[in-house]
Amino acid sequence: MLAIEPVLPPAPSGSEGRLVDRVVPSVAAVAAALAVWWPLTFVFDPFLPTPWRVVTSFVDAFTSGDIYEHIAISLRRVLFAWVVSVILGTAIGIWMGRSRLTEAFLSPWVMVGLALPGPVIILFSVLLIGVDESSRLVALTVAVTPFVVNIVHQGVRAVDPGLEEMAKVYRWSRRQWLRELLFPQIAAAIFAAVRFAFAFSWKIVLIVEALTTSEGVGGQLSFFFKLLRPDKVLAWVFTFTLILTLVDQLVFRRIERRIFAWRGEGVE
C-alpha cells in the first residue's frame, strides 16, 4: 500500500519473493475487509451501503463520464501544489542544511507550518485571497511545503563529513560536489519528499475542495455527503485511493529501484 509516512525508501531486496507470497495476503486482506464490512451494513442501514452498491456506483460514475472531468480538475490542483512544493521545499531544505544562520531563522517557521492544521490554512487563504482557484492553490502549497522542507533538511544534515573532506582534498569543483556527492546522498530524502508530497497533496486537495467548491473529487465527496449518498461517497474514495496506489506502484516504485541500484546486495 501507499507509504504516507516520510520514511526513507528501504533498500530494495534482490528478490521480491514468489508471486503467490504477495498475492495471497492481498486477497486475504480484501476478503477480511469485506467480512467486516458486510455485517456492518445491516447495523448501520441505510447509511453504510453494501459493497455491491458501492461497486455499481463506481461503475456508474465511470460510465457516465463526468468523473473524468472532476478527476482532471483535482489532478491539476495536485500537480501544481506537488511540483511547486517539491521545488520550493527542496531548495529551502538544502539551504537550511548548509547554513546555520538560515537554519536558525527558518526552523520556527517550518515548525509552525508542520503544526498548522490543513483547514486553518485553507480558511485563512480564502479569507485573504477570496474564494477562487488561486486561494486553493496557495493553501495546498503552503500546507505541503513545510513537510518537504523538513524531510530534505534532515537528509542534508545526514551528509557524510568524511566524503566532504575527501572531495575537498581532491579539489572537486562545485559542480562535481553537487552532482556526485550532495545529490546522491540527499536523493533518498528528496525521493521520500516527492512521494510524500504527492500523497499529502491529494489528501489536502480533498479538504480544500470539500470546503470551497463542488468541483473536483473533494467537491463531489462533499456534494454527495450533503445528498446523503454514502455509496457515491465511498465510490469516490475508492477512485481516489486507486489513483494514489497506481501512481505509487507504477511510477515511484520503478524510479526507486533505478535510483538506488547501488545499494545492491551490499555486504559490510
Binding site: V169, W262, G264, V267
Partner: protein
C-alpha cells in the same frame, strides 16, 4: 638538522604551527620537516599529537598560522597566507577508503581525474592501467559496497596514484584492516612506490609499521606535536617483519619515544 638543508628538498616545512579555533594550545608547534623526492617518509606519533593536522595542512585543507610550506620549489603557505599559485591536488588515503558508494569503482576514479584536470580521453586508459596495477581488473563496474575492505583500500590507492599527484599523503590507511590484509597491502604499496617513484608521506602510530615501510621516520611528541627526531631505516627492500635488524630499530625507537610520549601502550605499538 643541518645535513638535511644540504639536500634539494621536495617537501619543505619550516617553523610551522597551527591552532584550531578556540584551542589554547596549538595542535602542532614549530614543526620542521623535509622530505626528498621519491622518499617514503613516515610520521609517527601518539594519538592526538597533530599528525592528521599536519596532513590536512599539506593537502591544503588548513592554512597554518605560522611557518612556511614549500613543495617542489613552490611556496604553498607563508606566515598565515596561502599562495595564489594554483597547485595540483595531492593523492590522499584516509583511514577508511572514502569511496562514493553510489558510484562504480571506475566512476570513483574518474571523478578524481576530472577534478585534477586530466583530459577526458585519457581516463579510460588511466583507470584500466591503475586497476591492473592494483590487481583489480574486472572490477571497473563493481559497486564499492560489494567489495571487501582490502579491495576498497586498493581502489583508494588506485585513485591516489591515478591523478599523478605531486605526492601522496596517507593517514593510517591500513589501521582498520585485519592483520594479514594489512601486511599484504603494505607489501603491495611498497612495490607500487618503487615502480612509480612517487613521494609518500605516511602517518601512523605504529612504530613497527613505520620501520617496515619508511626510508626516514619522523618522531613526534605528544600534543602539541613537534618533530623531535629523524631516524633513517637503512634496510634493503623487500623487508621482512621478522628481520632481527628491523626489530632492533623498532626497539631503539621505542626507547626514544617512551619518555616523550609519557606512556606506553603495548597494544598500540605493533
Amino acid at each position: 638538522m643541518d645535513e638535511i638543508d644540504m639536500i634539494d628538498q621536495y617537501i619543505d616545512i619550516r617553523g610551522l604551527s597551527f591552532w584550531y579555533r578556540d584551542q589554547p594550545q596549538p595542535a602542532v608547534r614549530n614543526v620542521d620537516l623535509s622530505v626528498s623526492k621519491g622518499e617514503f617518509a613516515c610520521i609517527v606519533g601518539p594519538s592526538g599529537c597533530g599528525k592528521s593536522t599536519l596532513l590536512s595542512i599539506l593537502s591544503g585543507l588548513f592554512t597554518p598560522q605560522q611557518g612556511t610550506v614549500v613543495v617542489d620549489g613552490k611556496t604553498q603557505f607563508a606566515d598565515g597566507h596561502r599562495s595564489d599559485t594554483e597547485t595540483s591536488p595531492c593523492g590522499y588515503m584516509f583511514q577508511d577508503a572514502r569511496l562514493l558508494p553510489w558510484r562504480t569503482v571506475r566512476q570513483n576514479i574518474t571523478v578524481a581525474l576530472q577534478a585534477a584536470g586530466h583530459p577526458e580521453d585519457t581516463w579510460e586508459d588511466n583507470v584500466r592501467r591503475h586497476l591492473r596495477m592494483l590487481r583489480l581488473e574486472g572490477y571497473e563496474d563493481a559497486w564499492p559496497l560489494n567489495l571487501s575492505g582490502g579491495q576498497r583500500a586498493r581502489v583508494a590507492i588506485a585513485r591516489a596514484l591515478a591523478i599523478q599527484p605531486a605526492f601522496i599523503l596517507m593517514d593510517e590507511p591500513f589501521s582498520t584492516l585485519d592483520e594479514v590484509t594489512g601486511r599484504f597491502l603494505r607489501g603491495e604499496l611498497l612495490e607500487l612506490w618503487q615502480r612509480t617513484g612517487v613521494t609518500i608521506v605516511f602517518v601512523t602510530h605504529s612504530i613497527r609499521e613505520a620501520v617496515y615501510l619508511a626510508d626516514h621516520i619522523y618522531l613526534m611528541t605528544a600534543g602539541p606535536g613537534e618533530i623531535f627526531a629523524r631516524e633513517s631505516v637503512d634496510l634493503a627492500r623487500p623487508r621482512r617483519y621478522e628481520d632481527p635488524r628491523l626489530t632492533e630499530i623498532e626497539g631503539r625507537l621505542i626507547d626514544m619515544v617512551l619518555d616523550r610520549w609519557g606512556y606506553f601502550n603495548g597494544g598500540e605499538v605493533v
